[in-house]
Subunit: 177 residues, 2 copies
Amino acid sequence: MPRRYDPDRRRRLIDAAIRVVGRDGIAGLSHRTVAAEADVPLGSTTYHFATLEELMVAALRQANENFARVLAERLPEDDSGDLAADLARALGEWLGGERTGVELEYELYLAALRRPALRPVAAEWTEDAAALLARRTDPVTARALLALMDGICLQVLLTGGSYDEEYARVALARLIP
Amino acid sequence: MPRRYDPDRRRRLIDAAIRVVGRDGIAGLSHRTVAAEADVPLGSTTYHFATLEELMVAALRQANENFARVLAERLPEDDSGDLAADLARALGEWLGGERTGVELEYELYLAALRRPALRPVAAEWTEDAAALLARRTDPVTARALLALMDGICLQVLLTGGSYDEEYARVALARLIP
DNA sequence: ATCCCATGTGTACGAGGGTACACATCGTGT
DNA sequence: ACACGATGTGTACCCTCGTACACATGGGAT
């Protein structure tokens, strides 16, 4: 039974947790489901992550890093272009893809509402994203743009409506002084 | 044991469900916890609400009605005043009160992300709120204002930060053409 | 070479949950 | 007056979960 000597078992558990949340939501997250998804015994998950919150923290942090990378690519540093249009397009690409991915990241993000342990990670995320936007505008406007993007995403995801990129562009443009 | 003849048992179950979610979150919602909170036998909850989603739908709908009433009071129909300031103040009062109440309503609202059954109710809510705001501005702006308010609330609640009413007022004002 | 400890494995227990179902009771239409 | 259906009650089954614990194993410090 020598599955011994698994250097990045921790990483694989995090990946498995992300897949589980993507498929069944946080409600489907348990030590057992993660263990099954990662093909490791139950005891291994409880060893590396004593509580499910620890797993969520790790998963949220990784999801943040992924999204920050994507956003950085979509936001060229030179401010020659139209920032509102760039952001609206980035949102469109994000929401236009697999709904699973968006749901996954938002669900982990929103989980911070009831779990104080996740709040510092959520705060990191908004700070990092704001810093990214602040390359193209002032910090206060950056925060407002982020808030509006969050709100637009929420409305689309929660009501089951469709994303209107032109509407988003106009609204975002109004926030830029 | 004649607890028979309970005309508004359904209503009492909904109230109990709201109290349970307020105290322990959706994670703590179960037929049994609601039954205990409402002081009725287990079978009664499963009779009136076959699934927990039905309970959540009813609870979310009631929470919406409560909040819509409050918002209507805070938004006088005459447009003599400053709309952005009114909204920022309403947000402040809402976020300044018991964190429990805000968390409760937001948690039910956000639950629609993963539960399609809740999405029509969430959509109703945004439409009703937008109609309220549309008394003071155009429909497109009303939607944008709502989205920004959602985003600002989220950032406060998820990151554990504090609410800055002046910042909110400025950002909201920019959205009004 | 040896020892210690981080890591990995298997299993068991008690708590709590959804669901089903048989039975009790009352209101109401006929 | 009566029967039937809506509503209420109690209980039992089976599942999943978190947790704890005893044991195995191999790497690296000494």
